[in-house]
Amino acid sequence: MMAEYLTALAAVLAAPFLGGILMGLDRVVSARLQSRQGPPLVQPFYDILKLFAKRRMAANTFQMISVSVYLASMVLSLALLVMGQDLLVLLFILALGNIMLILGGFSVKSPYSQLGSQREVIVLLAYEPLLVCMVVGTYILTGSFSAASVFGLERPLALSMPAFVITQTLVMAMKLHKSPFDVSASHHAHQELVRGIYTEFSGPQMAVIELAHLYELVLLLGFIVLFWHTNLVVGIVLALACHAAVIVLDNVSARMTTRWMFGFTWSVGLALAAANLAALYATGPLPR
């Protein structure tokens, strides 16, 4: 029990560094793809430190609560994953953070922020069923929702649930606001939404959000590592490959509409998930 908590603590402390490097890599790779020099690898850390040093300004107190709950939910989700806890609970704690951020975006008076929040609701609606279906798939295989029971499987998930490697990659692109799914906000303020849902967050609040993004990235990659838990090296390579796919997708595609995104994930994404689940029901063991 104690060891579990310590492992979780270690993961929580290490995650921002790992996430920051990966985020920096993303920016370097993206810059090279666009024939730019790009920032140094550690730029995400500079950004966060700089933001923390800025003067605090806020639209209201609720906005600050939304930011802190957002961070807390990302940290908790990561801790629960490392501790091998219930994946369904984890997903809803993750959703809690996203919903609070959406509400934070609603609570300010900027039309850009509010439009971003309205669209983020659709983004949430688009990826949430894919995540839950993935977790249901693990239940069919193990008879339990706990991540720990996945650790106990002999066969890597990726072999029995290949479609979910694809859906998880899509979910990652959506959650990281990458093209073509960057409808509610994007990493750059070069669109009609300005910075969408993030428009009214500044200084230390924005720093907290950026920090939470680092956790989110590590968490999403952690999900993919879970798909090849039997050999962590393969798992990590798989995760990095998916991350690379997301970065390439971001650079080669243009932003689509909210409607397209919703239609795409609920048709193609859910069809993939359903087909894989059907195969699992047909072949997989369903104990208890």
Binding site: R56, M57, A58, A59, N60, T61, F62, M64, I65, V67, S68, V69, A72, S73, V75, L76, A79, L80, Q85, D86, L88, V89, F92, I93, A95, L96, I99, I102, L103, F106, S107, V108, K109, S110, P111, Y112, S113, Q114, Q118, V121, I122, L124, L125, E128, P129, V132, C133, V136, Y139, I140, S144, F145, S146, V194, T199, E200, A274, L277, A278, L286
Partner: protein, 660 residues
Amino acid sequence: MGLLEPLLKISPLTLAAVLVFSPALFGVVVFAVRTKWSRKGVVTVAGWVLTLAAITVFAIAFVSRTALSATLPAKAAPWSMIVAGGDLALLAAILVIAVRFRSAMVFGVALVQLAVVLYAELTGGHAAEAAPSVFIDWLSVVMVMIVSVIGSIIAVYGLPYMKEHERHLGIDEAGSHRPGFFLTMLVFLGAMNGLVISDDLRWVFFFWEVTTLCSFLLIRHDGTDLANTNALRALWMNTLGGVGFAVAIVLFGAHAHTYSVQALLRSPMGAAASLPILAALACLMFAAFTKSAQMPFHSWLLGAMVAPTPVSALLHSSTMVKAGVYLLMRFAPAFHGTQLSNVLAIAGGFTFVATAFLAIGQTNAKKILAYSTISNLGLIIACTGLNRPLALAAAVMLLIFHALSKGLLFMACGVVEHGIHSRDIEDMQGLVNRMPLTTLIMVIGILSMLLPPFGVLIAKLAAIEASVHLPLAMGMLVIGSTLTVAFWTKWTGRLLASEPGAVHPKIEHLHVMYFVPLVLLTVGAVAFSLAVFPLLTELVEPAVTQYYALVPGAAGGVDLSTDVLAVPWLLVFGVMATAVLAPVLVARTRPDEEVGAYMCGEQIETPNGSGFITVAEQSCSLSIRGHYFERYVGEDRHTLWMSLVAASLIAGMFGSVAVR
């Protein structure tokens, strides 16, 4: 425990009498003595009496650890005549209403029910005398608590609300309809209590029909054309459900030779049940679907929102619709392990998804709440159909948490409606600046319906876990839960959102009789969520254990241990509480740190507020509105086919009996 020892000596029959008759008696006093103060006093006292009685029942059940049961002597009175007379009197009242309002539909359905009831009377002569017998197990205790405590809180809230309501309509004290209103409300509470503690199906049916009649009277309370139309729709649909109930009684009497629910549950049931018995169960399901406003009968509950808000709060949270799901949960052991149970799960799951989908396109707050209620009842029914210990535990938890949160939300909506004279959530935009206190309560209410660590969500997780063995139902639960998130989040967003421009939030004044009920339910929703695990072990698990003791082959211990419960919730609660409180306590913004909105582009002041200079130097004013996606999720587009699917699922329930 020694202190509680005397409690055990109180006869269940005495308690039953208090729970069922005291509200009606207080109601008569309110009706007879028409002064403002007597009304306030008597309704409040009635609430206290009911609450104390419910707590006593809980305490006794807690100490004795067994179900309480008692029966009045069969020879004491011509019980069968009394209950039959009651049924016929209710039907006569419904027929009179049908004639008075010229409703052929109500008249026809009531005549059919009359025929079935008379047939039951004429053929059921061999059955035992219908002596009132009380059976209170944990499920009844939970229901009695919900009905009596939350119902009383709503009745008290109704006092200032109805006063303001009548002032708004220009009705003076002399012509006030309030005495009748509170009489009906209190009788309603008593009938609900009767319904959940009676063991004889004939008495359950009698109380079932009383709630039908009471809901009609409450829905048509304002007497407008719309109120009459909608109340009549509620009446015929619920009377139709009553026909199903009556047919079930006839079938049970003819083939199981008993009307005692407990005796029925102990007779050969489930896979061993004969065809007529399964048909009777399907009829009960049909009755429950009408009462709990499942598709295609959901329109009566949507229409019921024309009634004053305390009525909506009562119908949605603690009474009426809960009677339907109670009946199903009560009979769940009887259809355990049958195909019928699976079809029931699918039918409930369908309503859960369909109405959550329709809720997304609504702007009317009460309609969103109504769709959400129907959706949650569908979820409870799906859990009942899944018929596993964990699913039943989820159903009981949903019963409790939904009652708390929905009662709270309706009452908050009523306060808002009196504050801004609208129930449209577009008009609630920026409510956080106009009514910060009510908004806070409303937001807590909404979040308690969808976020961890609140109880509704934990129950939903348990439901999903229990549904894995029925993939179709599971798919419905997953999709439905996601859609639920969408409409609640959109609504909360509107409450918090406001257009650019300076506003100074001012805390509103709330009438003490608004404030206290709202705060009680808010604290209840939060406290019960924090105490979800004691609640589970002390209340829900015993209820499920008592239920499972009746399932042949499944007797023995009930194991509710799941991964959901193994989560270090204390850590989760702790981190979340810190995250919420830290900015409030430590990092609260000072006024000089609060800034306006970043608008981007050249801005101007227009007559309608802020605006922009746009292309060709044109000025355009700014306004912010919500998205409702009417083109995709509009009621007009979907209600018909959804109702047809739901109707065929109900047909499927009967079909599954036939093809067994």
